[in-house]
């Protein structure tokens, strides 16, 4: 029997195809990006080894006027909006739905719809909603008597970033709501019964029982929201039509543009390396800080 489960040839047959594919197409490219970031290269001519000068240029001198720092700031704004707007909204919805309100299932299903629609569709839709001449947003403002607020949402630098980011925040509310909802539903019912018998109000119950118990999933949601924001691409790429502007760029759209439009392979790869490093660092930091807070809470009890 053991010999069957130790069969080396069978193990190779099971593991090698996926492993080779993963190493060549998933892992090797990261190393290649790191190498490309040290080159001056347009993808056609010969590549010149320039050491770390791409890093210096992307982060400090900015000879090509790429304004990568703006894109980082924008992605941080998105992360902040997600953590302080999207997640609280999702949590409120999850708490209300999980409390057994009428129509729970229907609401849950509807709230999740934007998540399954492709960002390409949503992006084109929002372009039409924001259209300065016939967009729904301006129409609604007009009919609400707020015609003075009508605006060319993307052209106006003051509103461009928010116009670009709010659809992103909106699209994934349902996703986080679902994760939190599932976690709340996983809490044993006796705990809520006991709280009700002790005369705890729903709000008190939420803060004293539900939130502490779903902390692990809240941690997951914060991690996703932050890292997802840092590497966000689809919706912004569609809405800005891939044309770079410091007002609405995020690191991934700018990387795409730097590589495939401006053909600065070295600069683009530098941004790619930055994305990997940024995501890894945030991942570890978030895991750590959120965890210590939880452990501190444990000790207090």
């Amino acid at each position: 029997m053991t010999s069957v489960f130790c069969d080396r040839k069978a193990i190779a047959v099971f593991v090698l195809p996926a492993l080779i594919l993963f190493l060549v197409v998933g892992f090797l490219p990261i190393a290649q990006s790191a190498y490309f970031s040290l080159l001056e290269w347009d993808g056609i001519g010969t590549a010149k080894f320039v050491g770390l000068s791409n890093y210096v240029d992307v982060f400090i001198t900015d000879f090509f006027g790429i304004k990568f720092d703006h894109s980082i700031v924008n992605s941080v704004v998105l992360a902040i909006l997600c953590v302080f707007l999207q997640l609280p909204a999702a949590l409120a919805l999850a708490l209300v739905l999980a409390s057994g309100i009428k129509g729970e299932r229907a609401y849950r299903t509807i709230f999740f719809i934007p998540v399954v629609i492709s960002s390409a569709s949503i992006g084109v839709m929002f372009l039409k909603i924001y259209n300065p001449d016939f967009g729904v947003l301006n129409e609604l403002l007009e009919s609400a008597g707020l015609g003075v607020w009508k605006n060319d949402w993307f052209a106006n630098e003051r509103t461009a970033l928010m116009s670009a980011l709010l659809p992103v925040v909106w699209q994934y509310i349902g996703y986080h709501m679902l994760l939190m909802y599932a976690a709340i539903k996983g809490i044993p019912g006796e705990l809520f019964e006991a709280a009700t018998m002790d005369g705890a109000s729903p709000i008190r119950t939420a803060f004293s029982i539900t939130l502490p118990l779903i902390r692990p999933i809240l941690r997951v949601c914060v991690t996703f929201a932050v890292i997802g924001s840092l590497k966000f691409f689809d919706l912004l790429f569609v809405m800005t039509g891939g044309s770079p502007s410091p007002a609405t760029d995020v690191p991934s759209t700018l990387m795409y543009n730097t590589i495939f439009t401006r053909r600065l392979y070295g600069h683009g790869s530098t941004m790619a390396v930055f994305l990997v490093a940024e995501c890894m660092v945030f991942y570890l930091v978030l895991q750590r800080t959120l965890k210590t807070r939880e452990e501190r809470g444990e000790e207090r009890r």
């Binding site: 099971f14 593991v15 919805l93």
Partner: protein
């Protein structure tokens, strides 16, 4: 169990307010979709100002015929379907084999191999785009279905393996052991005993892999840009091109592109929600 079950006095009042807020939010969530479908039946005059929000004055199915004639949206939809299904099948087979070998078979490197795949959960795929592009170009695979199916499969492997390996931990071993005693070799055990047992995990991962591949934009936009081979997400992104001024037809195209995932969701909403919860480990 439920805190609102106690519907006396103030709670009934609170419940009514909550119902109103939930309904309002549901309307917000549905609005873009409803507006999209309504607009797909309007003409330019209505869309550009005469009737932006209301029902179409006349339901123009012609918009749909027009967009299907003027673009390759029909084949783009088919492409997306084929690439997504190929990704689901390929990643499902590869991941189930790996998960089986690392959780059930005894060999030295199993823990390391699993850990290696799990690092894939943290790496942003964006950083692999340029090297993969160059790789596909050199392999002469640009503008072929494989240019997308291969990276999509690789990107799906970590989360799929994570879920399947976790699922194996809950499966009893007796079935495969009795299979071995009955004289099955390891491949027969895998094919006839393991895969059927693994079905719930396969369905779960298939759903989020399918939606992920269907909706993917960055790789699709870079690696396949021939009009007859591109995916529907790329096609609708290029629909806004200046040459195309029939807005009703653009909306019809958007509606067509949006319809399949929404249909899948409408039919299997519980399964989709379950899958998205399970698949929520991809960072």
């Amino acid at each position: 169990m439920s805190v609102l079950k106690d519907r006396t006095g103030q709670y009934r009042y609170v419940a009514a307010v909550l119902q109103f807020l939930l309904a309002a939010f549901a309307a917000v969530q549905m609005f873009p979709l409803v507006w999209l479908v309504l607009s797909s039946f309007k003409n330019n005059l209505e869309i550009t100002g005469a009737n932006v929000i209301g029902f179409p004055r006349q339901w123009r199915w012609d918009n749909y015929r027009y967009v299907l004639d003027a673009t390759r949206l029909g084949s783009n939809l088919l492409n997306s379907l084929l690439y997504s299904i190929a990704t689901v099948v390929l990643s499902g087979i590869l991941a189930s084999m790996v998960s089986y070998a690392v959780t059930r078979m005894k060999w030295k490197g199993s823990g390391f191999v699993l850990a290696l795949f799990m690092t894939g959960l943290m790496i942003p795929v964006h950083a692999t785009l340029l090297p993969v592009f160059i790789m596909m170009k050199e392999a002469r695979l640009l503008n072929t279905p494989l240019a997308l199916v291969i990276p999509y499969t690789v990107n799906a492997l970590p989360s799929t393996i994570f879920i399947m390996a976790g699922f194996f931990a809950s499966l009893p071993r007796e079935m495969e052991e009795s299979g071995v005693i009955d004289g099955c070799n390891i491949y027969a055990v895998f094919w006839h005993i393991i895969l059927p047992l693994l079905k719930p995990a396969i369905v779960t991962t298939a759903v989020f892999t399918f939606l992920g591949a269907w909706n993917e934009l960055m790789f699709a936009n870079t690696l396949v840009n021939k009009e007859n081979l591109m995916t529907v997400t790329v096609a609708i992104n290029s629909l806004r091109g200046i040459h195309f001024t029939e807005y009703g037809a653009i909306f019809a195209g958007l509606a067509l592109a949006t319809f399949p995932p929404v249909l899948v969701y409408a039919l299997f909403s519980d399964q989709v929600q379950k899958s998205m919860i399970a698949g929520a480990i991809k960072g």
